[in-house]
Amino acid sequence: MNGRTISRSQLAALVDDLVGSGVGVVAPVRAPDGRLDYRPVARLEEAVLDGGLPRLSLKSLFLPPTEPLFSFRKSGPDVAIDSVPTTFPPRLVLGAVPCDAAGVAALDKVMGWDYRDELWFGRREATTIVSVACGKGDASCFCGATGNGPAGTRGADLLLLPLDDGFAVEVVTPKGEALLSAHAGRFGEPPNEADVARRRAGLLEGRVEPVGSLAPVTAWLGGHFDDPVWDGIALRCHGCGACASVCPTCHCFDIVDEPEGVTRGTRRRNWDTCQTARFTLHASGHNPRSVQDARYRQRVLHKFSIYPERFGELLCTGCGRCSRACPGGMDLPDVLGAIAARAAAPAGGAA
């Protein structure tokens, strides 16, 4: 590990420093109902580090559920446009779960290809992400299968690994390095490598992921759009899109105008999901994806075939939120397992 250590008290002091210097600090916070949400904190005590997955993923801090794109004012035949800022004040996320941070990194690809989404990158640039290695995985987690793992660094600027008192700090990016050097006094000596390695290994101890390697799945999906594996795959699925809401990488959005009277209004970007029939419904009534099987297939394909083909990485970090959120008992690892079995079966044979 190329890093340092930081004690709990120093971390608390670091938070105080940052907050004092005008940096917004966001961390998982325990809600009254016991669940975690990424929320602004004023002090470290408010944050819950390594408490498991917050309700909504980190994506909501960069692609908010709704955001204004601009406002407009009409006067007679004329229209004036009021822009929204695309630069943001500095912010630090403390305690990002590694699979959440990885999701943000994955989304950089689609947000940046060809056309660069200023709102996304404005927030990305203003934000430093400090992940904390995750020791709270459960039977729905498969971050290992997606190549990240509970101590994955993808998307993080710094990764904290819990020690007995405090954390081992791994510097992942120059931005992380900058944070560290700006507050060098808060950080201690490099950690004991062996201890770190042992603790890292401990994170994986006893963990059995619900699905194995995804490489065969990704390889198989491209050519099997019409495979029988899809038939009835989404019978249980309500098409509610709860999965997409909690997903760290689902990024489909809608653009809507909201009038505020005859002459004023705002154009907004809102989360959307390919799981509803409405998503692709044409005004004519024609719907290219008319059944839930097709819509569910789109979600799987987008994550495990289209995105890898286009951007070279999975659009899934294995956080397992979709399975936990599903009111209909749909389970992505289960589906991936079925596809893997199908892929492994002799050509043309039954899965």
Partner: protein, 290 residues
């Protein structure tokens, strides 16, 4: 369990139905099963983890389920009210479905939880349940288990909210509804939300802003609750489906009480009982009207 499996197998074998909607073991606790053959029927289960209401799958809008053919559905007492709701509102002909009732001693709030049924894990609607044996059923299976453990927490919560000032309630709900991301999972999981096109998806005009900002969340949740007023069957699916844990059940329950106190209506699995929507009494209370 054997009784349920035998019955499902028999119904399939006789050709009475083409599919039996029940529950089976899944990767995360139990999950819905669409049993079309004896093998699948033999895998059906019923136990306190069978929290999910399967009746939403009977909506005429579920074309893929419909294609499986005539269905039997396994229902708890609460789920049976949803069957009655669909029949009452002409979404389902009673003769087009075989209803298999299961006698129920309560279910757990989170069906994926490995915890057994206990006062701590029991679903909020179960304690004090008076419809543990569906009346609507064509067949009823199982022995009647002991009454659900624990006490209803939601009654206490409603009383607590009602005891607060309006401003406090406002703050409470703004905070709860503030989490809403407008995914509409509550709607899709609801057996009584069967519209071809939800009013929230109507764009001409856009009565309900589609944005998940506080205003849109407020409008949507008011609309959802109102559209279920006098129609909600209290199956708990909306709240269970909500990915951000908004206590939607409190809104439903509040309006169910209004229906009961003002209009003498309680959710029932008798489709012949008219709902308070579409009916009135000339002497309905109107103390709030000047």
């Amino acid at each position: 369990m054997k009784e349920l499996r035998d019955l499902a197998t028999k119904l399939l074998a006789e050709g009475t139905v083409n599919v039996v909607l029940g529950w089976e073991e899944g990767p995360r606790g139990v999950r819905p099963a669409f049993a079309t053959d004896a093998a699948a029927a033999g895998r059906l289960v019923f136990d306190p983890r069978c929290t999910q209401n399967l009746v939403p799958y009977l909506s005429p809008r579920r074309t893929q389920v419909k294609k499986l053919g005539k269905a039997a559905v396994v229902v708890k007492g609460c789920d049976a009210r949803a069957v009655a709701g669909l029949v009452r509102e002409t979404q389902l002909a009673r003769e087009d479905v075989v209803v298999i009732g299961v006698r129920c001693g309560g279910v757990i709030a989170d069906p994926a939880s490995p915890e057994p049924l206990s006062p701590a894990t029991v679903a909020d609607r179960c304690p004090g349940c008076n419809s543990r044996e569906p009346k609507l059923a064509d067949h009823t299976v199982g022995e009647l288990p002991a009454a659900p453990p624990g006490e209803s927490r939601r009654d206490v919560r409603i009383a607590d909210l009602e005891a607060r000032t309006a401003d406090e309630r406002w703050a409470f709900w703004q905070d709860e509804l503030g989490r809403c991301v407008r995914c509409h999972a509550c709607r899709e999981a609801c057996p009584m939300c069967f519209c071809e096109r939800c009013v929230a998806d109507k764009t001409q005009p856009q009565w309900v802003d589609s944005s998940p900002h506080p205003r849109g969340a407020f409008a949507w949740n008011v609309t959802r609750a109102l559209h279920l007023a006098g129609r909600c069957v209290d199956c708990g699916e909306c709240e269970r489906a909500c990915p951000v844990d908004i206590p939607l059940g409190l809104l439903n329950l509040k309006l169910a009480r209004v229906a009961s106190e003002r209009f003498g209506y309680t959710a029932t699995d008798d489709p012949a009982v008219p709902s308070p929507v579409g009916s009135f009494q000339k002497d309905d209370a109107q103390e709030f009207i000047l």
